[in-house]
């Protein structure tokens, strides 16, 4: 299994695990039981309960599902849109290509969180809107990368030969450009997943337009921040979930020496 394939499998497994976690929890994550608030860790409540007596593990599990959905939406949108714009700009060239690339540079110039915050403030914050907002705010680097790779591929002797033999732009794109760019773009996509987790948590923490009672990890940090000294575990659990997920994604998906991606990047 290549490094890329292994990474994508790891990403898939993680997302599937998150989806399962959000489909079933040991307790109702919204069930309030004031009599058992701030309950310590136990078999019944492995992570304890919060200030309203809600089971923390169940809330963390439900939050995992939202995080998985955001990663999927962001990955699809930023990878799809960025690749399309970059490859099109490289193939088209001229003024049209320049306009496309300038638009990608504009998106990069605007701070990701500010752009995403503006969108979620206007349309409300849910896993879907956050995914769309972050995706729309992060497609720029994919476009630049795809553009550079496209130009490099178009300059290769075998591509020049194909074009001289009458292969059209669409044929060149399908047979040569897309296969040559996909590997590197997927590597970038994999490395971006960890950042997406943190960005989504930041949006949920800031809470603009958010449904505040939803157990997103970032929203939980916001909701529990008043208990930082009196019940610190309330913050430690969602904090750990964010950190470990981002770390796991980066470790599982990073290029390894010996992998096809690593060698390809070395050769380049």
């Amino acid at each position: 299994m290549s490094g890329r394939s292994g990474g994508l499998v790891a990403l898939g497994l993680l997302l599937a695990g998150f989806a399962l976690a959000s489909a079933w929890q040991p307790h109702d994550p919204f069930a309030i039981d004031l009599a058992s608030r701030h309950a310590p860790m136990s078999l019944d409540h492995p992570m304890g309960t919060d200030h309203l007596g809600r089971d923390l593990l169940s809330r963390i599990m439900l939050g995992a599902g939202n995080t998985a959905m955001v990663i999927l939406i962001v990955a699809t949108l930023s990878f799809g849109l960025g690749s399309l714009v970059g490859v099109t700009a490289g193939l088209a060239g001229g003024v049209f290509g320049t306009v496309l690339i300038r638009s990608a540079e504009f998106v990069i110039a605007v701070p990701t969180l500010i752009l995403a915050l503006t969108i979620t403030t206007l349309f409300g914050l849910s896993a879907v809107t956050a995914g769309l907002a972050l995706g729309l705010a992060t497609w720029g680097p994919y476009a630049l990368l795809a553009h550079a790779l496209t130009l490099r591929t178009l300059g290769q002797p075998h591509v020049l030969a194909a074009r001289s033999l009458g292969v059209g732009r669409t044929g060149v794109a399908a047979r040569h450009v897309v296969p040559a760019t996909a590997d590197t773009l997927l590597t970038y996509l994999a490395s971006d997943a960890g950042r997406t987790v943190v960005s989504y948590a930041s949006l949920a923490f800031l809470g603009l337009g958010a449904e505040t009672s939803q157990p997103d990890w970032g929203a939980m940090l916001f909701e529990y921040r008043g208990y930082v000294f009196d019940a610190p575990m309330l913050l430690i659990w969602p904090g750990l979930a964010i950190t470990l997920t981002a770390l796991a994604l980066n470790l599982a998906l990073e290029p390894r020496a010996g992998s096809s991606r690593f060698l390809a990047s070395k050769e380049a």
Binding site: F30, A31, I32, L34, H51, L52, R54, G124, G207, L208, G209, A210, E211, T212, S213, F222, E223, R225, G226, Y227, V228, F229, D230, A231
Partner: protein, 499 residues
């Protein structure tokens, strides 16, 4: 090793001595150490005209009004001695011994000048009266005419925007127990005792700092950087008490209220609004936020014009009302009418921890009725109210800022009230308010206000949730501090360090 231990001790001793040097310097100068107060707000200006300025300056012990609401929630004279009707106008008598902080007397001419200035430059000051015309009759009596009839002038003159002041050069001076010595807008005030104060001159200066984050206010007093920390999270009180600090709580005249949007379905139906009000377990809300009193009406239960009994919690009656209104409960636990799910958007501020804590509790209680509930936070209340983007919206406000219940009703619920964003327009309510506006006799006013509370419980443009409790911590030296049941008088003249 003994050398190392000796060195460490020496270092600690030197460090301790250095730390005490400023104290010794102060002691040598004969100055009194300031009382260090941390609060969640600090004045942004010393100008008395902007909206909240009177509240801030009064709360900081700098400015005063002619009347005030005392600790027992009774309107009492302060800079004035009384107010008597004179036809449609009022004649207010002043205390003879009041001086501004520069030593000049606060006579009738000064009061008339201040009121005229507020009338011209502060729309909030004239919210209850319309235009004010104030003229000095003699040095100790002012005649006040108002655009709208005023049944209780002492209550109007207890409103915080009507603080007394005197413009001097480019600034303003006041009559309060403290004088502003140093000022950093919205951040810090250094307050010195006012030597010309008419009452007990404070024993010590005050250094007031604003720390917006509640945990920062807890840490400040825990770390010994404050003597008095105001508006703390209830969860911190036990820890602070264990550290030898005095933890104190006071139920205030602020009421947490759930307003309803009557301009659109389903809350345009009175039965649905009644069901919402009956479906809220206020005891549980109070338990969840860690303090307060379940509401009996919009007013603090200790006022004479507030009902005694808490508002009922009756989910069975609530369900029956929803059935009656055509919202049938489905197998999925949701109510529908003509195939449409009953759905409510609840909005709340994200700036107050209590509001965030309440959100899931309120959501669960409404869901138990079969209502689909989306709860969304906001940074600022006014834009949400202006846009009408809510079905239910909750926030707290001091409902009796001047000791009389008419204020909030005029502002928030009158059909033409400046803060009626809810589409409430009731002929019966308007009639009762008109009668209240013409009634001066206290017992008759109380009876009318009780009638109005009963009407509001029936028509439900708003349902009160609970009286808000403030929590604070003090060092043992401030053990005698008496907390006012509001945040209008935090820095007080009798606040002093005791041995």
């Amino acid at each position: 090793m003994s050398f190392i231990v000796f060195s460490r001790r020496c270092l600690l001793a030197v460090a301790g001595a250095l730390a005490l040097l400023p104290t010794l310097a102060v002691a040598q100068d004969g100055d009194t150490m300031p009382i260090r107060v941390v609060s969640y707000f600090a004045a942004s200006t010393l100008d008395p005209h902007p909206g909240g300025s009177g509240w801030f300056l009064q709360s900081h012990g700098v400015a005063e009004t002619l009347f005030w609401v005392d600790d027992d929630l009774t309107i009492q004279p302060k800079l004035a001695t009384g107010a008597e009707p004179d036809g449609d106008a009022w004649v207010v008598s002043l205390r003879p011994d009041i001086r501004f902080s520069d030593g000049s007397p606060m006579d009738a001419e000064a009061v008339a000048t201040a009121l005229s200035s507020l009338n011209a430059l502060s729309p909030r000051a004239t919210g209850s009266t319309g235009a004010i015309t104030a003229t000095a009759i003699d040095p100790l009596r002012v005649r006040i005419e108002t655009e709208r009839p005023v049944p209780v002038m002492s209550a109007v003159l207890a409103e915080f925007p009507l603080i007394m002041f005197k413009p001097v050069d480019d600034t303003w001076i006041y009559t309060g127990p403290y004088v502003v010595a140093e000022f950093e807008p919205s951040s810090r005030l250094s307050l010195e005792p006012n030597p010309h104060y008419w009452g007990q001159v404070p024993a010590a200066p005050v250094d007031l700092r604003r720390l917006q984050d509640p945990q920062s206010r807890v840490l400040a007093i825990q770390a010994g950087e404050a003597d008095f920390s105001f508006n703390l999270p209830p969860s911190s009180l036990e820890r602070l008490a264990a550290d030898g600090l005095i933890a104190r709580s006071v139920v205030t005249t602020k009421t947490e209220m759930l307003f309803m949007n009557l301009t659109r379905p389903p809350l345009d139906d009175q039965r649905v609004r009644q069901a919402i009000a009956l479906g809220i377990d206020r005891e549980m809300l109070v338990d969840a936020v860690g303090g307060g009193l379940p509401a009996t009406s919009l007013f603090h239960p200790d006022f004479d014009f507030a009902p005694n009994e808490p508002l009922p919690y009756d989910p069975i009656r609530a369900a029956a009302l929803l059935d009656e209104a055509g919202w049938a409960l489905g197998d999925d636990g949701l109510r529908r009418r003509d195939g449409e799910v009953m759905s409510l958007l609840v909005r709340h501020t994200t700036r107050q921890p209590d509001a965030i804590t309440m959100a899931p509790v309120l959501q669960a209680q409404l869901q138990a009725l079969g209502v689909q509930v989306e709860v969304r936070g906001y940074e600022s209340t006014q834009p949400v109210l202006d846009a009408g983007e809510f079905d239910l919206i909750y926030f707290n406000s001091n409902t009796v800022p001047s000791g009389d219940g008419a204020f909030i009703l005029d502002q928030w619920l009158r059909a033409d009230g400046p803060r009626n964003h809810f589409g409430y327009d009731s002929a019966e309510f308007e009639d009762l308010m008109d009668r209240l506006g013409e009634t001066r006799e206290p017992a008759a006013r109380n009876a009318l206000l009780l009638d109005i509370s009963a009407l509001l419980e029936e028509e439900v443009p708003v349902t009160p949730l609970f009286a808000v409790e403030f929590h604070m911590a003090l060092t043992p030296q401030l053990a005698d501090y008496a907390a006012h049941p509001s945040d209008y008088f935090i820095v007080r003249p009798d606040m002093g360090l005791v041995d």
